[in-house]
């Protein structure tokens, strides 16, 4: 991994490459030796805690990825490298084993965690991925995703190291690691206590393929410009700035904040030994979709001042306690069972079951009065104490990694899909019910016999062409009309009670339109002062005195549309019995009866055929999809399946597999590949007074119990009525009928308790009387029978 070491020189100095390479070889060996010695020294000397509870001040020299000291005043300094800057004291190779840096290993890391979800809105792909094998998850390798692809997709919320820092031999063709550099472990991503640490900046740098610069930019130590993604694949960090292009293909570079350095070029790192919660939440935040920010309640432990790292502890290996019950069996090296709910709230117990001391920090001891013991034995603590309370339907939440939260800027990075729902109660490995988060996969697939193989979004896009872009019929017109200076304002399409306008991403935004003329056909308009006006004022084409001005405007419009992107033909306008078109740069006006009526009607004229601006099917798609979280209609799915291959392809979404039947129509059926993917949730923890069951047994046990009978409806990118709907009890593996009846029994339970009490009281009293009489006679107090 150590590529070179050139003491006292910048990689952008005037040395020729071959001279540098020679030096690199010699000094590289020395560098490796030094690094190994340092690492060894670090491992043997610094990993043992002396007992000091202060964190050393980190006023340290920065090193670049070639283990060279960074001089911020030098021209074109390299970004700092955590591997070498932290190495003198912290063993990078040991840290690399940590939970956050080993997601690329096939080793299971205990109970399932949140998968990475490959989101491609256009193709409706929501594919749950993980290198760690788990039910319902796809291994990126099996889908042909290289480490490079994976890093580009998910590096925004990754902590560096692991697969984002592959060995040279693992680099796949087509990757651009030599341009972007590797993503080293982003130590500051968690441990930087400075408020300048910016996870948004991290995500943006990763998306620009500025991998080796991302940590420097995100930490605020320097300002990073340029984009590695725009550079030629032959570019190398030694090449320095791009002399041919200072506008577009600008090579990444860093300008350090020189005020942060002392005279010896040492930088003060404001570090926290235990990361601040905000750092964890940058990647682990989860919040209900329906809430506003000020309504959101944080975890009761956080509110009480306990930090994430208070429970999720680790040593220098960064192999982290996740804190679930049974973790010790999954990872015997961890003191995991010391940090479960039970460990803190119930305290330590001896093998004989005697308590020997209260839990950590004397956490409140739960008495669980009146809760039958079976609940404690068969339910995880989190069932009653964590996540939202059960409702008619599980709550929709967004998670940082699935929905790309926490990346701020002009563009909105957040995605509505995948639809993550919670709580859904499933059994864990030990058979205990545990609240889970759940999402429904959605992807195109090749189906051979029963084997389902997901297709990459790019394969689908290539095959489907315009089918997946119905809004293009509108956007290309609107984009064309944008160039007409004579319009009163930005163009819009008025259709079906909505006004459709171009957004910054080149897509469509829909807003409600309450004006006239929305019934029946659509019409084009211009937006002025918040009002939508016709593109040109009404006039009589037969009257040459009044038609000159509007016809000039029509000419401009038709000219603009002629030049619009991918115009399928020549634009023509039919208006009040006349047909307008551009012929040899002039507006041609011919009398022609239009059966559609007097309203202006634009069309394309192609090889004598008149084509509508927006075909009927696409109109229906646009109306159905614009402004909704769905991106596909069943019509589109059927069309794409015909293109992909009717017999051996399917679209999986909303808990169903959609295939074309022999008649060529779409059919939804059950399939294991469409089953939801779930992972346990642990937060937000609620206090005892807000726990499930605090109002009594009927919180869960009633005829229409939300706990047992919440309706879990599959959500996905497909607009369909065939989405799977399941009862919560089906996820628990419980009989719905039994729990309906059992719930019903709670209606008479108060009376039952009274009867039982009276019976026990009567029987007990008679027993006592009998006992006392016998005792009295035995003692001679009561006269014996004669």
């Amino acid at each position: 991994m150590v590529a070179s070491a050139i003491p006292g020189s910048s990689p952008f100095s005037t040395h020729t490459k071959w001279k540098r390479a020679k030096k690199i070889k010699i000094l590289g060996i020395l560098g490796i030796g030094f690094a190994l010695c340092s690492a060894f020294a670090a491992t043997t000397n610094s990993q043992k805690w002396s007992g000091s509870q202060t964190t050393p001040v980190h006023q340290i020299p920065l090193k670049d990825e070639f283990n060279q000291a960074i001089v911020p005043t030098e021209k074109n300094p390299l970004p700092f490298s955590a591997r070498y800057s932290c190495a003198p004291c912290h063993d990078y190779s040991v840290i690399r084993q940590g939970l956050h840096f080993s997601s690329g290993t096939a080793q299971p890391a205990g109970r399932p965690g949140e998968p990475w979800i490959w989101v491609d809105e256009r193709t409706g792909t929501l594919l749950p991925l993980s290198y760690r094998p788990s039910k319902g998850l796809w291994n990126p390798k099996d889908l042909g995703l290289s480490e490079w692809d994976f890093t580009l997709l998910f590096g925004r919320h990754m902590a560096g190291g692991g697969i984002t820092e592959p060995d040279d031999k693992e680099m796949t063709p087509g990757s651009r690691w030599n341009v972007s550099g590797k993503i080293e472990i982003n130590c500051l991503g968690c441990h930087n206590a400075a408020r300048r640490q910016d996870s948004s900046e991290w995500a943006k740098q990763v998306l620009r393929e500025n991998f080796r610069w991302a940590a420097t930019a995100a930490s605020g130590l320097g300002e990073v410009g340029g984009m590695a993604s725009r550079l030629k694949p032959t570019w190398d960090v030694f090449d320095g700035p791009n002399p041919d292009d200072s506008e577009w293909a600008v090579a990444p570079s860093v300008k350090y904040d020189k005020t942060l350095f002392d005279s010896k070029h040492r930088l003060f790192f404001d570090l926290s030994y235990k990361p601040e919660d905000a750092r964890c939440l940058a990647c682990h935040a989860v919040a209900p979709v329906s809430l506003r920010k000020f309504e959101f309640e944080e975890d009761v432990h956080s509110a009480a001042g306990i930090k994430c790292a208070g429970c999720h502890r680790h040593d220098v290996s960064h192999v982290m306690v996740r804190g679930y019950e049974g973790e010790a069996a999954d990872n015997p090296a961890l003191p995991a069972e010391d940090f479960t709910c039970k460990a803190c709230h119930l305290g330590d117990v001896t093998s004989k079951g005697e308590k020997i001391r209260p839990g950590r920090l004397g956490a409140p001891y739960p008495l669980h009065k009146g809760i039958p013991a079976v609940h404690i034995e068969r339910l995880a603590c989190t069932v009653c104490h964590s996540g939202p309370l059960p409702a008619k339907e599980p709550a929709r939440v967004r998670t940082a990694r699935a929905n790309r939260l926490g990346i701020f800027g002009v563009a909105d990075w957040t995605t509505e899909l995948p639809a993550v729902q919670e709580p859904v109660y499933l059994r864990d490995k030990s058979g205990k019910l545990t609240p889970h988060r759940l999402t429904w996969p959605s992807f195109w697939a090749r189906v051979k016999e029963d084997e389902v193989t997901p297709l990459k979004p790019e394969e689908v896009l290539a095959a489907a062409g315009d089918i997946l872009f119905p809004e293009r019929y509108v956007t290309r017109i609107l984009a064309g009309l944008f160039n007409v200076a004579e319009l009163d304002g930005p163009p819009a399409l008025i259709m079906n009670g909505k006004a459709y306008e171009l957004n910054v991403d080149g897509g469509l935004d829909a807003t409600a339109y309450e004006g006239e003329g929305t019934s029946g056909a659509y019409f084009w308009a211009a937006k002025k002062d918040g009002k939508f006006l016709p593109l040109f004022a009404d006039f009589d084409p037969a009257n040459p005195e009044t038609s000159a001005e509007p016809e000039a405007k029509i000419q401009k419009i038709l000219e603009a549309l002629t030049a619009s992107e991918a115009a399928p033909g020549k634009p023509v306008l039919a208006f009040k019995g006349f047909l307008y078109q551009i012929v040899e740069n002039y507006l041609d006006k011919a009398e022609k009866k239009d059966p559609a009526g007097p309203a202006p009607r634009f069309s394309w004229l192609k090889e004598g055929q008149v084509l509508p601006f927006i075909p009927e099917a696409e109109r229906a798609m646009i109306i159905a999809l614009t402004g909704s979280e769905q991106t596909l209609t069943e019509e589109q799915v059927a069309r794409v399946l015909k293109v992909l291959g009717e017999t051996d392809h399917a679209f999986i979404s909303s808990g169903k597999m959609f295939r074309l039947n022999t008649k060529g129509t779409l059919e939804a059926r059950e399939d294991e590949a469409a089953a939801p993917v779930a992972w346990p949730l642990a937060h937000q923890v609620r206090s005892a007074r807000q726990s499930l069951g605090v109002n009594g047994c009927t919180d869960c046990h009633s005829f229409g119990s939300k706990f047992f009978f919440a309706e879990v409806k599959a959500a996905g990118p497909l607009r369909t009525e065939s989405a799977a709907v399941r009862s919560a009890s089906s996820f628990m593996g419980l009989s719905g009928i039994y729990h309906r009846l059992f719930g019903l029994s709670f209606a008479v339970r108060p009376a039952f308790k009274v009867v039982l009490f009276i019976c026990a009281f009567v029987a007990g009293s008679l027993l006592l009387i009998m006992f006392l009489i016998t005792l009295g006679r035995f003692a001679g107090i009561i006269e014996k029978r004669r």
Binding site: L367, Y738, L756, C759, L767
Partner: protein
């Protein structure tokens, strides 16, 4: 749980063995002394023949007659419903409780549990009614009280059958009350998790005790004794 299974198996088999062996001794007393070496074999053969008798239709008819007589004598008129309620509820509770405790590691759940709780209510009601209306039949008389007077070990030696039946009746009632109380306790929002766990243990062991009591009671009360 394993401990309970062992204790339950040993105690139930022990009581069954004791009761059947006493009957075997009584039955074979007339035939003179059986040699010690062949005693076990003879006992097993005898046990087999008894089992065959039990499963025969004749045995069912006899049981019906005995129970009918008993009901008519002790629970006349509408009171027979108390006896039927007590007997049938106890049979279901004992069968379902022991089966799940011994053979199902998870314990009782689902419909059997729902039934257990509901039938438990009937049992408590029948037990209270039995004590109210028939408790007087099991008062100790003078001769029996004298046993306590001359309290000496072993206290149960040479107890009369009537006296033993009375003791068993009150023991049955005592364990029955414990059963009802522990069931009720687990439904009330009063007791902590630890207490609930303890109540389950108490419920389980008192259930075993009531079953043992019932076995002996039924044996000495309803199973006809062959005269030597």
């Amino acid at each position: 749980m394993v401990l309970f299974i062992v204790i339950a198996a040993v105690s139930i088999l022990g009581v069954l063995f004791r009761q059947t062996y006493l009957r075997f001794e009584t039955a074979t007393a007339a035939e003179g002394k059986i040699q010690a070496s062949s005693r076990a074999k003879t006992y097993i053969v005898w046990l087999g023949s008894q089992a065959k008798t039990i499963v025969s239709g004749e045995s069912y008819k006899n049981a019906k007659v005995v129970l009918g007589d008993w009901t008519r004598d002790h629970y006349p008129g509408w009171l027979k419903w108390i006896f039927i309620g007590l007997g049938s509820s106890f049979a279901y509770l004992a069968a379902s409780g022991l089966f799940f405790a011994v053979f199902i590691p998870r314990g009782m759940f689902g419909f059997p549990l729902l039934g257990h709780v509901m039938v438990g209510g009937l049992f408590a009601l029948s037990l209270a009614a039995t004590l109210l209306w028939r408790g007087r039949d099991y008062r100790l008389d003078k001769a029996e009280e004298a046993v306590f007077e001359g309290f000496s070990c072993p206290v149960f030696k040479n107890l009369s059958k009537t006296f033993l039946r009375k003791i068993l009746f009150w023991a049955f009632a005592l364990f029955g009350v414990v059963q009802a109380a522990t069931a009720l306790g687990s439904m009330l929002p009063i007791f902590t998790y630890e207490t609930q766990q303890a109540m389950i243990v108490v419920h389980r062991y008192s259930a075993l005790a009531i079953v043992l009591t019932a076995i002996v009671f039924v044996d000495i009360t309803f199973v006809p004794q062959r005269r030597p």
